[in-house]
Symmetry: C2
Subunit: 223 residues, 2 copies
DNA sequence: TACCAGACTTGATTCAGGTCAACGTGATGG
DNA sequence: CCATCACGTTGACCTGAATCAAGTCTGGTA
């Protein structure tokens, strides 16, 4: 995960051909896995189209989704020798793959890239702090509210008091595994929000936040 | 948090005086806070002695401890413009402070340092993935078991089948806030482990893992 | 030695969220 | 146009961990 066009920012005034040279494109079909948790980490990835989910598994199959990534997001920083997470496409996705060796040539050529990668990692690290608080200390209601708010700030509209339309491209199972809840709980809480006129549910993937700041308040645990 | 002597690794063959020049030492008394969550981030820190806890707070005071740091660990990567976490001393601690500006001079002088910082961030990121799985998907028993195992691999002894002595310098409250549990639950589970002869509790801070691999199995959810 | 305060443990009870099970719903294909 | 199937919702019930409430243990102090 990372901010849009993360890599390119630090080299856009430089030779993009060099960059293209060190990378290869790939397409991943819906539900297909392209990073295996624990496998030796040989590549970085940039999501160029579609969406992707990142997760870790317990031996008995319990799953924690550690993030969703989309266009421009950077993957693979959470890996030393082996990947600390698995990744699979959510819908079909296109990726740019950068072998570590190639990336190293790039950072030698464009030293500011290294700094950019560190920034990316820092941003990610800060997000994770918040996510740990969510998982360790928030109630189910607060988690779902936080998720909705995340999805909407993600849309980089300023926190308006006006209704915000969202689409949630991931199935409920993924939302649940992201929030450390069950599908049933997520479903019940969305229904409750609807009943309270905080949101309206046009279709499974299409939700409107009717009172964004109110949901925001819930998300922060200030009910 | 970071591996011992993280910074120095990449410059130990270089001019350490330059490094000393860009940093200042400080001592923090027990329980004193030295990073305020949300405050503008001006410095990096390296823990040089004692221990430190990192945490985030919800408005109503709920707390999630996101990590413990000790000698050699690096703090401050999870911050862009403002800190994503607060930090306070656990017992009295000594720190080395590196203002961002100074750090930038250092990375210019020793380019490999930038790479080192990124590695540090990556390591941290990988740890956090595991911690999210713990908080989102593990049972109380599994969390406490994981905590004990963490503390012991932390001691860099290989996973032996032999008993391992641990000391837990943090109060139960901190363990609870780290694991997303309450003090009572932590206490009960430690008592249960004792009853099951998995551990022995010599004193509040001093615990011996009698069957480390057994605890390890519990930690992974394989009961 | 006795007292005290803070940290920890233990027990009884409650409740948020999980589990199990039935029921909708909407997309796909024969 | 209905059957199917995967996904989502809703309801009834259960349970793991939280909460509430005593104890207990420890180290410091007089």
């Amino acid at each position: 995960m990372g901010r849009r066009l993360s890599i390119c920012n630090s080299i856009d005034d430089c030779d993009l051909a060099v960059l293209a040279n060190e990378s290869s494109r790939m397409t991943v079909a819906d539900g297909r896995s392209f990073i295996e948790e624990g496998a030796p980490a040989h590549d970085f990835f940039v999501v160029t189209g579609g969406r992707v989910k990142l997760f870790t598994l317990l031996p008995d199959g319990r799953r924690q989704i550690t993030g969703f990534a989309e266009g421009g997001d950077f993957l693979g920083l959470a890996a030393s020798t082996s990947y600390a997470f698995g990744a699979e496409a959510l819908g079909s996705a296109t990726l740019c793959r950068f072998p570590h060796a190639g990336m190293q040539r790039l950072t030698e050529r464009f030293p500011s890239l290294e700094h950019r990668l560190r920034e990316e990692a820092s941003r990610e690290l800060a997000l994770m702090q918040a996510r740990m608080t969510l998982l360790g200390r928030k109630t189910a209601r607060e988690r779902v509210a936080t998720f909705l708010i995340e999805r909407c700030t993600h849309l980089d509209r300023p926190d308006s008091a006006r209704p915000v339309e969202l689409d949630l491209p991931m199935p409920r199972t993924d939302i649940a595994d992201y929030l450390g809840l069950t599908i049933e709980t997520v479903s019940r809480i969305l229904s409750a929000f609807k009943k309270e006129k905080l949101i309206s549910i046009r279709s499974i993937t299409h939700i409107t936040l009717l009172m964004p700041e109110r949901i925001s308040t819930i998300a922060e645990g200030m009910e």
